[in-house]
């Protein structure tokens, strides 16, 4: 006899009478008025995501918070069957940044690029050489301000229509793990591409989302405080961290996703250095050369491109500090049905603008 089976049966027998909500209670509650009202509230918010496993797709880079908001997008190759561009208006997208790489005429469009190992190791050394920047006495709350822009694609009647949704996010992370996030979302932009300046104007808008999380809830993603400075251990931690631990993404893609989420916290230079060491160990990381980011800052660009040569995630890292200053999500070609006419197309980006320490969970760092 399976000993666990006995243990389980005994546990159920023992505690069954104490079950305050037996299994035959609250049946079909999804269809009652409250369940339906909740459903309507949820689906009326911007969604994220892409169907099916195994395909890198669009994502919203958010701090390690479960209820953080998002956007949908279309994943490479996934909606091919359902989407048809006919009938949809062309979607404006942010212009690709101008990348410069010796020997490659258009790095943004090239599928094949040199590997990024040496660049990442150099950036790791730069990050490791930065002062530790511990929180000042009495200011133990990390603050990160980002400007973001995402393409949201809705599908109706077999036609995909995309719009652009700008965001400004402020994230406060206490050393103990509590997180507060305020998001301001602009109106969908149908005809023009929002700029960082336009995004910054959102800062005056009323928040569209204000969420606070205690330390336990911050387990929606790893806290920088619990991460190892050993590259092998750190890599394992990142690949097993909630909420992406069940995905079967390629490791580099997975690592980039979680690294961009992590950077909504104040990442210590030593950890940043270890992050780049981890990525340097990924053979499929590509060097995209140098770039000036959307906030006008110089950056080194490293990327991961999916096997289909459709989607690319680009990290932009400051050559002087080794800090992540932005990331971009691009389609190199149409995955099928998107109402975008020019490729490569940027379908989302995040600029990390302010990063520092403050005294409480509401005061920004200027």
């Amino acid at each position: 006899m399976n000993p666990f089976r006995t243990t389980i049966d005994h546990t159920r027998s023992l505690l069954g009478p104490a079950n305050p909500v037996p299994g035959d209670v609250l049946t079909d509650s999804w269809s009652d008025p409250e369940g339906q009202a909740a459903y309507q509230r949820i689906v009326s918010t911007p969604a994220q995501g892409t169907p099916a496993a195994g395909q890198p797709g669009r994502r919203r880079p958010l701090a390690a918070t479960v209820a953080a908001t998002t956007v949908v997008v279309v994943a490479a190759g996934l909606l091919t069957v359902w989407l048809r561009p006919s009938g949809a208006s062309p979607t404006a997208t942010a212009p690709p940044l101008r990348y410069t790489l010796t020997g490659v005429s258009r790095p943004a469009a090239a599928v094949a690029l040199p590997d990024a190992r040496s660049v990442l190791l150099r950036l790791a050394r730069v990050a490791a050489s930065q002062p530790a920047d511990p929180p000042p006495r009495g200011a133990d709350v990390g603050y990160v301000l980002t400007n973001e822009w995402f393409m949201s694609t809705a599908v109706a009647g077999g036609v995909a229509q995309s719009t652009i949704i700008p965001h400004v996010d402020q994230t406060w992370s206490r050393q103990g793990g509590a997180v507060r996030q305020v998001q301001r979302t602009g109106r969908p932009v149908a005809a023009a591409v929002s700029s960082p300046r336009a995004l910054s104007q959102l800062a005056g808008n009323a928040p569209s989302t204000v969420a606070t999380y205690p330390p336990a809830a911050a387990a929606a993603g790893p806290s920088v405080r619990g991460l190892s400075l050993n590259p092998a251990r750190l890599r394992a931690q990142l690949l097993h961290a909630f909420p992406y631990e069940h995905t079967d993404w390629p490791a580099s893609y997975h690592l980039i996703r979680i690294i961009t989420d992590l950077n909504h916290q104040v990442v210590p230079p030593a950890l940043e250095a270890t992050l780049w060491q981890v990525l340097a160990g990924q053979r499929d990381m590509q060097n995209m050369g140098t770039v000036t980011d959307r906030a006008g800052r110089p950056g080194d660009a490293v990327a991961f491109t999916d096997r289909q040569g459709v989607e690319r995630l680009v990290l932009i890292i400051s050559p002087s500090s080794g800090r992540l200053i932005g990331w971009e999500d691009m389609f190199l070609r149409n995955p099928g049905g998107l109402s975008i006419t020019t490729y490569p197309a940027v379908i989302g980006y995040v600029s990390f603008l302010t990063n520092g320490w403050t005294t409480n969970m509401t005061t920004p760092v200027s």
């Binding site: 079950n19 919203r60 336990a216």
Partner: protein
């Protein structure tokens, strides 16, 4: 399958289970909020939802547990659980002897509340959510062997807590439920 169709199928399949999970741990009103918040995460983080259907339910419980932790911490509603649940659900429906059932439930609940949150959770996941060990482990974010050890120890401590209650000679303190039981027994 498009986003909304996929979400609707998931909502219909798991909303009840998630709501029950929450209602077993917090008052019914807040349980609705927890269930709603859990599915908001599903909607917004579709790619984080496990592709393996067998793992979806424990994954949802894990997400719900974060929401619960947040709410319990800020509002300390857990203490009200017994009372609210006693008001909400009719135990007579599930037991031949109404008064005995309530008293036994109160005894078990009191013993359960003497355990650590981790012990409570593994017992509840196995007994109330009826998860097997592997899925309880997934819901708790630990390995199966770890869950097995936790279950073994939690059962032992639960038994000890029940013995302590039985040997104390004192009446079982069933707080909110005690009032209701007393009223119903008159």
């Amino acid at each position: 399958m498009d986003q909304e169709a996929w979400f609707t199928a998931l909502y219909q399949a798991y909303y009840d289970a998630v709501l029950r999970y929450a209602a077993r741990r917090i008052d019914p009103e807040t349980a609705r909020d927890v269930a709603s918040e859990t599915f908001l995460v599903v909607w917004r983080r579709r790619k984080a939802v496990p592709a393996d259907p067998a793992v979806i339910e424990p994954w949802l419980y894990k997400v719900a547990s974060y929401s619960l932790a947040n709410r319990k911490r800020s509002r300390q509603r857990a203490e009200q659980l017994t009372m609210h649940l006693a008001d909400t659900f009719d135990p007579a429906k599930h037991s031949g002897d109404h008064a005995d059932a309530i008293a036994e439930r109160a005894r078990l609940t009191q013993a359960l509340e003497r355990l650590s949150p981790q012990d409570q959770e593994i017992l509840r996941l196995i007994a109330w959510e009826e998860l097997d060990l592997a899925y309880a482990a997934a819901a708790m974010g630990c390995s199966r062997p770890t869950a097995a050890v936790r279950l073994h120890r939690a059962r032992r401590r639960m038994t000890q807590a029940l013995e302590a209650i039985d040997n104390s000679g004192a009446a079982v303190n069933i707080t909110g439920a005690s009032t209701k039981v007393a009223e119903e027994m008159r």
